[in-house]
């Protein structure tokens, strides 16, 4: 089937404005008759719940954390892009649009990206009005820094805690609506199923993580803002609770999963220290503004103290290979370059899995105080984890899974192929193509939540009668029974291996065979090993306790079971895409280390349909058209 993204046509500059006018409206007096469910309270979900509540809809918001303020958007460090052109350095909405399309390696929809660039400026205004304390210059105006993949300074920031401050802004707007009674907040609830009645999304089944009770909630529309899935690699920069579960359950109820193979490996993370490790910690890309990346030229120098390696014996490989972007090359390119150096035997630190990020030159030029003011909290964090002082010796960095560009398929209105199911933020696939540029995730989350869904959901709700299905409908009971049966199964197996062991194993397979570089062979290996591991899981997992209590092992068992299914789809998608683009690098398709796209055969969105347990999923294609930014080899040289 050929999918239709329902993008507006005509001059790109007018698409969103025209579409907004064309969308149907819900009368203010009628809005309160509609119930809307929002799952997830990060930037996308929090902003959506707050904005929809403000408009007068009845919103029910859900998060698995103990408070909506803790969603993992909070961990974004570096900043948020906007096309304000405050520095007068040549930025424009068109340039942000252009950079994002190119940065995504020509695998995103033009109309969606245009809209994102257009509303980026409103986001900054909104956040300032909320009291987000963005960095300012000495005249009192908003300050900007540079990020990868752009030659203008368009990134707004709040020290190294931009995600935290933006999330607290959205959380404060959400709190205001909770107080006003337009949003009912359900925390410590994990969505475990999507309820679909006669082909339309009508609600969700959640587990109350404190009591263990399975609860049903019905609504006229369901918005998933449930984040990304890179915990499929086990070790990633995501929070421990991040999972594919909500998206996977929706997928099993019919929602198409688009481009799952587009995963972002962030170039600057603290290298792994041991097998017991539970997560990896990212160091903001903004560090590459002032840090220089290098490895020793000679293999025999790798064991030396970095400060004893002479300048001439260092290979500043990013500056050498990509002179115009240098250390600010985009993430996919910087990560692959790091892997290349390490594979070549010139990596540093334990296992040779590391490259240096060196601030010595910047400290000499600007002084340690300036560097401390810009990145002090990051240096502190680095020292806490590694016991090394980044001011005195170069930091060690290695790429780590960080973000998923793929996600549930949505049309221009952010609605999936299931009517009534909307998908926002990292959970959808829409704007980043095959690679996301730095400081664009925060932009997308807030764009979807504040400035897209409030319009597009109205266009849908105006066509449906409110309250058609209640939570006592048979489909809700069936959903609860199915979830209960699955949980009883986990608890009854009483095998020999813990949930963590299985997660570590599947994550290891994914990182090894489907990580920064993939081949036909490695992917086929995974397509054999993952089903075997899944089978073992269902025979040999050990989960203690009961379902009727707070049970973290049971929570993790469910998430792991879903990763064990999803990982296979990810590999299948990577195997079918016989090209390299952005974060998807197939070693067979390269030109001296650079990704080799195949626009003749793969210039489409690949959206997978679930066909039932043990059955091959079906691929649907949405062709991509580039009328404004012409398909070209993506060069940062």
């Amino acid at each position: 089937m050929i999918l239709d993204g329902k993008c507006p046509t005509g001059p790109i500059e007018q698409t969103w404005d025209k579409h907004r006018f064309d969308l149907k409206l819900v009368n203010p007096a009628n809005k309160r008759k509609y119930n809307v469910i929002v799952v997830g309270t990060g930037l996308a979900g929090g902003a959506a719940a707050a904005s929809l509540g403000e408009l007068g809809y009845n919103v029910q918001a859900f998060c698995y954390q103990d408070s909506p303020r803790r969603a993992h958007s909070i961990a974004a460090q570096g900043g948020i892009n906007a096309a304000k052109n405050y520095p007068n350095d040549g930025d424009s909405i068109y340039r942000l649009f252009y950079d994002t399309i190119k940065g995504g390696d020509f695998r995103a929809r033009e109309a969606d990206v245009w809209r994102l660039a257009q509303v980026s400026n409103n986001i900054i205004d909104q956040c300032v009005a909320q009291g987000v304390p963005f960095a300012r210059d000495y005249a009192g105006y908003l300050d900007n820094r540079s990020f990868g993949g752009a030659q203008v300074s368009r990134t707004f920031f709040a020290r190294g805690q931009t995600g935290q401050q933006l999330l607290l802004g959205a959380y404060s707007a959400l709190s205001r609506q909770i107080k006003a009674g337009t949003v009912k907040m359900y925390d410590r609830r994990e969505m475990l199923d999507l309820v679909v009645v006669d082909g339309v999304a009508r609600g969700i089944t959640v587990r109350n993580l404190v009591t263990g009770a399975l609860e049903s909630y019905a609504a006229d529309a369901v918005c998933l803002a449930t984040g990304g899935y890179v915990n499929v690699f086990y070790l990633s920069t995501n929070a421990m609770g991040c999972s594919v579960t909500a998206n996977w359950k929706a997928h099993k109820k019919g929602a198409y999963f688009a481009n799952p193979c587009y995963t972002q490996i962030h170039p600057t993370c603290i290298p792994q220290a041991g097998d017991y490790q539970s997560k990896l910690t990212l160091m903001s890309e903004s560090l590459r503004n002032d840090g220089r990346v290098w490895v020793p030229k000679k293999k025999e120098d790798c064991g030396k103290h970095p400060n004893e390696i002479a300048e001439d014996d260092r290979d500043y490989y990013l500056e050498r290979k990509y002179p115009s972007y240098g250390n600010l090359a985009p993430r996919d390119i910087a990560s692959r370059a790091a892997k290349e150096q390490c594979d070549d035997g010139r990596g540093v630190g334990p296992g040779g899995r590391g490259v240096y990020l060196d601030f010595a030159d910047s400290i000499k030029r600007l002084g340690e105080d300036t560097i401390r003011e810009r990145y002090g909290n990051l240096f502190e964090m680095y020292e806490k984890i590694t016991d090394e002082n980044g001011y005195k010796r170069p930091m060690r960095m290695y790429p780590a899974p960080h973000y998923s560009m793929g996600g549930l398929w949505v049309d221009y209105n952010l609605m999936s192929n299931i009517p009534g199911l909307f998908v926002l933020g990292e959970a959808n696939f829409s704007v980043h193509g095959a690679n996301r540029l730095g400081a664009s995730a925060l932009m997308q989350g807030l764009a979807d939540g504040y400035f897209v869904i409030p319009y597009t959901i109205g266009g849908y709700l105006a066509t449906v009668k409110p309250g058609q299905v209640k939570a006592d409908h048979a489909e809700f009971k069936q959903s609860v029974d199915d979830v209960k049966a699955e949980q009883d199964k986990y608890l009854s197996i009483n095998g020999k291996k813990t949930v963590f062991e299985f997660m570590r194993e599947v994550g290891g397979l994914m990182w090894e065979n489907c990580g920064m570089a993939r081949t036909k062979e490695s992917l086929e290996t995974n397509l054999k090993k993952i089903p075997a591991l899944r089978e073992e899981f269902w025979k040999n997992v050990k989960v203690t306790g009961s379902g009727a209590e707070l049970n973290q092992q049971l929570e993790n068992a469910g998430r792991t079971a879903d990763f064990l299914e999803f990982s296979e789809l990810l590999c299948r998608d990577a195997l079918h895409r016989n090209e390299s683009c952005g974060g998807h690098f197939r070693s067979e398709y390269q030109d001296a280390g650079e990704a080799q796209r195949d626009d003749v055969n793969f210039c489409y969105v690949g959206a997978w349909e679930y066909k039932g347990a043990g059955k091959e999923p079906e691929l649907h294609k949405e062709p991509l058209k580039f009328d404004n930014v012409h398909l070209a080899v993506r060069s940062y040289k």
């Binding site: 304000k84 205004d125 300012r136 995600g163 959380y171 929070a239 041991g274 539970s278 504040y450």
Partner: protein
């Protein structure tokens, strides 16, 4: 990095099945712990052993494990977050401990934070304080350009100092009175400092203070334990600012 020495530690951990259970300390041994383990990874290892033995693992709140989400919450040897300067439990590493150490692990203890299970407490009272006024009442859209109002850098920086709060509740756990003055003072100050927050400053401080009292938090008697416990180094001067704002609001 290449240090392969391992530690064995004795853990004395608060176990409590649910809110109605009286709870008690249980003793466990943590083995094969290296200096690079984070504190929570050490607990992960202990939990794996408990699961193999068919026992209920210790439950504790945690999520980002990089010191920013504010979820983790344990009192370690009497100090919230373990007493290392500006560090959450998840960022505390085992190199701060010695082989053979005995470590006491407890939940946040405060009247306003009922225990849910083991080391997990209910901190929804902090959300209620924010809901009482921790925002500017701006609507989505229809706001001025971000540069329409300039804010002197020192003011913006001080607002950011206050805004760093992660809402973990260590200040409450550290306070002998179980007060949430540092938490509330930080939000009141952030918004009172910025021009965008001034319009509602008087109403805000009154509503947030009243809610704080209704939720069962205590009063401030200047012990400064909150500041010592705060993983983000929030300064007690923000409590003073809140008191000033509160006084001002009485005449507003």
């Amino acid at each position: 990095m290449s240090d392969h020495k391992t530690m064995t530690l004795t853990l004395i951990v608060w176990r409590q099945k649910n809110a109605n259970d009286p709870g008690k300390f249980e003793t466990y041994t943590a083995k094969n712990i290296t200096e690079h383990h984070s504190f929570l990874e050490m607990l992960d290892c202990v939990n794996e052993d408990l699961i193999y033995a068919g026992k209920d693992p210790i439950v504790f709140d945690h999520d980002c494990r990089e010191g920013i989400c504010g979820t983790c919450s344990q009192v370690i040897n009497g100090a919230p977050h373990g007493g290392q300067d500006r560090t959450t439990v998840c960022q505390l590493h085992m190199r701060k401990f010695k082989d053979g150490d005995t470590i006491y692990i407890e939940p946040w203890r405060a009247r306003a934070f009922p225990i849910i299970r083991d080391l997990i407490v209910d901190r929804s009272a902090l959300d209620k304080i924010i809901q009482a006024g921790g925002y500017t009442s701006c609507h989505t859209g229809g706001v001025a350009d971000g540069n329409a109002i300039i804010i002197p850098k020192p003011v913006a920086d001080e607002a950011m100092d206050a805004a760093e709060c992660v809402g973990c509740g260590a200040c409450v756990a550290g306070c002998p009175n179980g007060a949430a003055m540092l938490f509330t003072g930080a939000k009141v100050s952030q918004l009172a400092l910025l021009p965008q927050g001034k319009a509602e400053a008087a109403e805000r401080v009154k509503n947030m203070t009243n809610t704080m009292i209704e939720c069962g938090f205590g009063n401030c008697t200047n012990h400064y334990e909150c500041m010592a416990a705060c993983p983000k180094g929030i300064n007690v001067k923000f409590i003073a600012r809140m008191n000033r704002e509160f006084l001002k609001a009485q005449f507003a």
